[in-house]
């Protein structure tokens, strides 16, 4: 009984209109769920609700009925007895008569009608009764929006689910629909209404049916919405977008052929309007109609359609051909939406009925174009009207030709001969010779307009060639008559296009563009039935290749030809044209590759490389060939350099390496087999270095060494482990045969290091750098021979100032296996041992000054390396190198999460103090290096120790380092004595803070914000720290915008504003000023009371910034100033 009490309570709640909607929803949910669970049956509910459903109080009754309806809406999938459904639908049907409870009645009917199969459905008879009652009693247009929408949905549901019952109603339902739609203005309702019309049309397809007889009325009611125009655009954003509604309307209009006598004239009329939207909508709708109404009905409107189409095509303004390489594969001019739709419609009409083409072929304007063409030879000379004429006609013809094979045949038969005639191109006679008319050379009659038209036609027709399987099944020669026409003209056409390209000069790109595009069009016919024979295809390739090789600079012609070749290459690859691929290989690829090899060409070397790499990347086979060519080219240039001292060769080498790095390496995953060829390339690089015993000519080849390092490192990075091993082995052999191993034997003592004054020879430097880049790139799984001597070698080298050696050492300690159970068994040295060498053993052994050997297991300040860092021994140079080296080693350890990095950090921080533990003052330069070491430790390096180079990266390593170092740095700053040391500590802190993920900062804003602000003011003193300052400022701006940092930002508002105001005048870096002003604008999000006191200060600063020498700063200042004045303007007028 308790449930019943509850029920009454819920009922009362729902019926009471003074309660909030959430209460209503809750009680509805409660009742529905108890029905769902079976605690309550529908019958019980109805009995219980009796009073609410029949009371004379209109409001309560309406709510009661609505409640019942909503409950049924929730129970759509619950099986109900058919009798129950019947009595319920009868009840709701009867309530349709009563306008007060209409909402409930509609919702109820809809809920019951939408029930699916098993759950108990409404019978057809009942549905018919609903429809009748709707038609007789419901005046749709007198209700509010929501009720109207329900009405339309009810109609939609009835027509969709009970077609037989509705057919019985016949005229009645069509009338009712007309009446319901009449005057409707809301998009959501219209969307449904249009669908109802569409469904009705489907329901009554017979010519004697009610839709056919009422077509004119029905059409009148929907056509008045065309073209759709929204008067209220704002605030209605949640409702139906215009495009959807317009699509719905178009479907309704095209729903039945009976609308044809009314629709087509209307659409043609709207097409002639000046409103672009009306044009686009009409064209779209006409396309739908053409499909649905059928050829027979459309036929009588052809004349009108054709003239309207022409108008639409001619009227869209602002079109002009552009001759850039980027337009080589597109029509060459911009099309607006009207134009696109018109072209679509034309194609649709021609495709559907070939007789439409008759209008096109006989059109005077289309035929006139041939006179226009022959009047002007150059495109620039044409007046705008003629240009338009040529462009539009060529589009009309190409679109029609594209529609079907038949249309293409007709167009070619009608126009192509005339076109050729105008251009003075004569077909090949049976013997294959050209017949020249009256000695006129072809080149004199290269009309640009004609060429354009010709190209468009050829491009359109090439899509009609069936793929090879299809063509073999339907060998209809008549079908392919256009093909034979093209075939007859192919030789002279190619000749004409070639001469167009060749006659072009630099100031006129039209010739080159049209010529190349023409050749491209001729070269892109696919399959065995292509109208262009293989020898002609080869001729095209030869011409294009010769354009590339003959130029001496990067001209438009050159770019066009290259683009065309790339297009053809990828076309061949796409359609697997094996014969053409062979021609391509023989003519294009081999030619270019041999140019790379010989480098004896007027074309600058970088351009040869560019062309070769672009062309060859179209097919894996070509790539293989190219890498081979590159390899040979590298070897010959390099040996040419060291044997003959040819500096040009070494320059070529670096360019070649750059090309490999930038063009080939990024595509290694796309192209099969590229990895293998590149590894081979790397090994031949080593071979070449091995065989060059002595450089007879010294050179200042920084550029070459860098390029070589980059290429080598990246090749190793992408190579598989086995290939890496072979490269390492090769490199190790070269290294061990060089003079470098001598360095290993130098005892790592202070005195010995001091003695190393001699610089490395050029060759040794190259070998060392390349070897370092190999080590940097290898994966942890690769095996490195003789690690211990190598570590010593790198130690010595980095102390002599070779940074790559330090990076390689960092990579080594990052990737070495730990102890005996490490991941890496193949190397002979564990991480422990490596650290031992670096930090202790050999250093300490020769160390006479400090004989303290007790701290064997540490790598802290007791080691020699640390002592050099702290300036106990040696020169300043040695000290700074040691600091940088230590940083790279530390980075390697840090990334793998090794604890030793903490001690390294402590040493570095010791260097930042003004004086070390024994009282010696630190040199400013050493301090600077120590501060920058934190940047090395924290930042992501592109040169080594990243994912590309297989670094071991432990998650959250930056966070860990941050939490260790920041507290120490903070306390050091607090206790710091000299301003220099203070600045340096702040630089270090800024490096740590600005490289850690921003979430970490946000979690500690409260603690960090004062430090950041102090850092900003300290760093703003010296111009040297401008970049650091900027990255720190970015961190600050990150905290300003985030909700997490809001509280502490608000607390520190005065200090932040003070600091930012100062930075708006920072003279050394524009972005700092810009960001500071942006930050000031962001601060306006803080509570008004917090910032209001500072308005004067800020406005003053920003007003000064209005006069900034940099435009971007001024723009920001204006925005910021407007924002800040807006919080004050109400009280003080400007």
């Amino acid at each position: 009984m308790g449930s019943l009490n509850n029920l009454t309570e819920h009922l009362e709640t729902f019926v009471d209109v003074t309660r909030s909607p959430t209460h209503h929803a809750e009680s509805l949910k409660a009742i529905a769920s108890s029905l769902e669970k079976g605690v309550l049956s529908i019958n019980q509910l109805v009995v219980e609700m009796d009073m609410y459903l029949t009371t004379t109080d209109d409001v309560v009754r309406a709510r009661g009925i609505l409640l019942l309806a909503e409950i049924l809406n929730h129970l759509k999938s619950k099986p109900l007895d058919n009798a129950v459904v019947h009595s319920l639908i009868a009840f709701f049907t009867s309530k349709l008569e009563e306008w007060r409870s209409l909402r409930g009645a509609l919702t109820g009917c809809l809920a019951l009608l939408k029930r699916k199969g098993v759950a108990g459905v409404v019978t057809a008879t009942d549905a018919e009764a609903v429809a009748k009652s709707m038609a007789q009693n419901v005046q749709v247009q007198s209700f509010a929006l929501h009720d109207r929408k329900l009405c339309f949905e009810l109609w939609e549901c009835l027509v969709e689910q009970y077609p037989e019952a509705m057919i019985n109603l016949g005229n009645l339902i069509v009338f009712a629909t007309c009446e319901a739609i009449d005057g409707e203005k809301d998009p959501p309702c219209l969307m449904v209404a249009f669908h109802v019309v569409e469904l009705l049309a489907r329901l009554f397809p017979s010519p004697s049916g009610p839709v056919a007889s009422e077509a004119s009325d029905l059409f009148e009611f929907i056509s008045c919405y065309f073209p759709l125009h929204y008067t209220h655009t704002k605030g209605d954003e949640a409702s139906i977008p215009r495009e959807d509604l317009s699509r719905g309307l178009s479907l309704a209009i095209s729903s039945t052929p009976f609308f044809e006598p009314y629709a087509i004239p209307l659409l043609l009329e709207k097409l002639s309007s000046s409103l672009p939207v009306a044009k686009v909508d009409s064209l779209k709708c006409l396309k739908d109609c053409a499909v649905k109404y059928g050829v027979h009905r459309m036929k009588k409107h052809y004349e009108g359609l054709w003239s309207a189409l022409k108008d639409a095509l001619y009227s869209s303004p602002g079109r002009d051909l552009s001759f850039g390489p980027e337009f080589l594969t597109s029509p060459g001019f911009e099309m607006d939406e009207i134009h696109r739709e018109a072209a679509d419609l034309l194609q649709r009409l021609v495709k559907q009925d070939i007789s439409f083409l008759g209008l096109v072929v006989d059109d005077i304007r289309v035929n006139m174009v041939f006179d226009t063409i022959s009047r002007y030879s150059r495109y620039e000379e044409m007046p705008d009207t003629s240009k338009l004429e040529v462009l539009v006609v060529s589009q009309i013809l190409s679109v029609s030709a594209r529609a079907s094979v038949d249309s293409c045949n007709i167009i070619f038969q009608t126009f192509f001969f005339r076109l050729m005639n105008t251009l003075g191109i004569v077909e090949t006679t049976s013997t294959g010779d050209l017949v020249h008319k009256e000695n006129s050379t072809v080149s004199t009659r290269l009309y640009h307009g004609g060429l354009h038209l010709c190209i468009e036609l050829l491009t359109a027709s090439k899509d009609l060639i069936p793929s090879s399987e299809e063509s073999s099944s339907t060998p209809g020669s008549a079908q392919q008559s256009w093909c034979s026409i093209v075939n007859r003209f192919s030789v002279p056409l190619i000749g004409a296009f070639t001469s167009a390209v060749q006659s072009s000069n630099d100031d006129c790109s039209a010739d080159a563009y049209l010529g190349v595009k023409g050749l491209l069009a001729m070269g892109m016919f696919r399959g065995g039935s292509s109208p262009v024979s293989r020898s002609e295809f080869e001729k095209i390739l030869t011409t294009l290749t010769s354009i590339i090789t003959a130029e001496s600079a990067k001209t438009v012609k050159w770019e066009l030809a290259l683009k065309a070749l790339v297009c053809m290459g990828s076309f061949i690859d796409q359609y697997r044209e094996s014969e053409k691929a062979m021609s391509y290989m023989g003519i294009v690829v081999e030619n270019l590759v041999s140019l790379v090899r010989s480098s004896q060409c007027s074309l600058p070397y970088p351009l040869i490389l560019e062309a070769t790499s672009e062309v060859c990347s179209t097919r894996p086979k070509y790539v293989e060939k190219m890498v081979q060519g590159f390899e040979e080219a590298f070897c010959s240039s390099f040996s040419d350099f060291y044997a003959n001292g040819n500096f040009k060769s070494i320059e070529n080498c670096s360019q070649l390496l750059e090309c490999v790095t930038n063009k080939l390496l990024p595509r290694v995953t796309e192209i099969d087999g590229l990895e293998k060829s590149l590894v081979h390339f790397a090994i031949s690089m080593w071979n070449e270095i091995e065989s060059s015993f002595v450089f007879s000519y010294d050179f200042n080849g920084r550029e070459f060494v860098e390029a070589a390092m980059k290429t080598m490192g990246q090749i190793v990075g992408v190579a598989l482990v086995d290939s890496q091993n072979s490269i390492i082995q090769k490199a190790y052999n070269v290294i061990s045969s060089s003079t470098l191993p001598a360095m290993e034997s130098i005892p790592l003592t202070f005195a010995a290091l001091e003695g190393l004054q001699r610089d490395l020879s050029t060759r040794d430097e190259l070998t060392l750098s390349l070897f370092a880049s190999v080590i940097i790139g290898v994966s942890p799984k690769a095996s490195i021979p003789d690690v211990k001597p190598l570590i010593k070698l790198f130690m010595v080298s980095f102390l002599k100032g070779y940074i790559p050696a330090a990076q390689a050492l960092g990579s080594m300690v990052n990737k070495l296996g730990t102890g005996s159970g490490g991941a890496n068994i193949s190397t002979d040295c564990s991480l422990e041992e490596a650290c031992e060498i670096i930090f202790h053993e050999s250093f300490a052994s020769g160390n006479t000054i400090s004989s303290d050997d007790s701290s064997k297991s540490k790598c802290g300040s007791e080691t020699l390396l640390s002592k050099i860092c702290l300036g106990f021994y040696g020169s300043l140079d040695l000290q700074t190198r040691a600091i940088t080296g230590l940083a790279w080693i530390g980075k390697g350890l840090l990334m793998r999460g090794d604890g030793r990095v903490n001690e390294i950090a402590l040493v570095l921080m010791e260097c930042l103090k003004s004086s070390n533990s024994s009282g010696n003052a630190m040199h400013p330069s050493a301090m600077k290096h120590a501060a920058d070491a934190f940047l090395i430790l924290m930042s992501d390096s592109g040169e080594c120790l990243n994912r590309k180079f297989h670094a071991v990266i432990r998650p959250l390593y930056k966070q860990r380092f941050f939490s260790i170092t920041v507290p120490i740095l903070e306390s050091l700053i607090v206790n710091c004595q000299t301003p220099l040391s203070r600045t340096m500590l702040h630089v270090a802190l800024a490096h740590v803070i600005s490289n850690v993920p921003v979430t970490v900062i946000l979690d500690n804003t409260k603690k960090l914000l004062p430090m950041i602000l102090e850092g900003l003011s300290v760093l703003s003193v010296d111009a040297v720290d401008k970049e650091t300052l900027f990255s720190l400022l970015l961190v600050l701006s990150g905290t300003l915008t985030d909700t997490k940092g809001k509280q502490s930002v608000s607390d520190n508002a005065h200090r932040i504003i003070e600091c930012l105001v100062k930075l708006t005048a920072y003279p050394h870096l524009m972005v700092v000023r810009e960001t500071a002003i942006q930050c000031l604008a962001t601060l306006l999000e803080l509570p008004h009371g917090r910032i209001y006191p500072f308005r004067r200060e800020v406005l003053q600063a920003v007003t000064k910034a209005l006069d900034d020498p940099k435009r971007r700063v001024r723009e920001e200042a204006i925005k910021c100033r407007q924002a800040w004045t807006s919080i004050t303007s109400r009280s003080t007028p400007v």
Partner: protein, 155 residues
């Protein structure tokens, strides 16, 4: 009673593309130039119509001349019709907007272009009279109108 519009049917031009400054332009010669000033004022709304001054051809790129040495700026605008009583409001808007955007050391002169207004001299005089400008902007109604016009929402 609502008064009729001064110019009920103005000719409206399409909005021009924003001038995209390339990075190069940002780098070299970054001083204030007439185009900058044009950028500031082009979006001021006409007091009568929901169009910008640029759309109504009241202003164009050529209407602004700048003398950097003397720190002087001259803006010449063309009212849509000869007897436009809105000319002074437009001038006031220009002045108010530029006051927001320019540093203080520039002297701004605002004129209607010669022959474009029936009462050219008096309008010019009124627009360049400091006291009258300040007085006009103290009038709350005028101030509100001007603020609405210059509050460019970056259409």
């Amino acid at each position: 009673m609502t008064l009729g519009m001064i110019n009920a049917n103005p000719v409206v031009q399409a909005r021009k593309e924003r001038l995209a400054r390339t990075q190069d332009q940002y780098r070299d010669d970054d001083g204030l130039d007439p185009l900058d000033i044009y950028e500031y004022v082009r979006d001021i709304r006409d007091p009568e119509h929901p169009y910008s001054l640029e759309q109504l051809s009241v202003l164009s790129e050529d209407s602004i001349t700048l003398d950097d040495k003397l720190n002087r700026i001259l803006i010449t605008f063309t009212p849509t019709i000869q007897h436009c009583s809105m000319a002074t409001i437009i001038g006031l808007c220009l002045r108010a907007k530029l006051k927001e955007c320019l540093p203080l050391h520039y002297k701004v002169d605002i004129r209607v272009s010669p022959g474009s207004h029936a009462d050219e001299d008096s309008v010019n005089k009124q627009l360049n009279d400091k006291e009258r400008v300040v007085a006009a902007l103290e009038n709350p109604n005028l101030r509100q109108l001007v603020d609405e016009c210059i509050c460019s929402t970056e259409m």
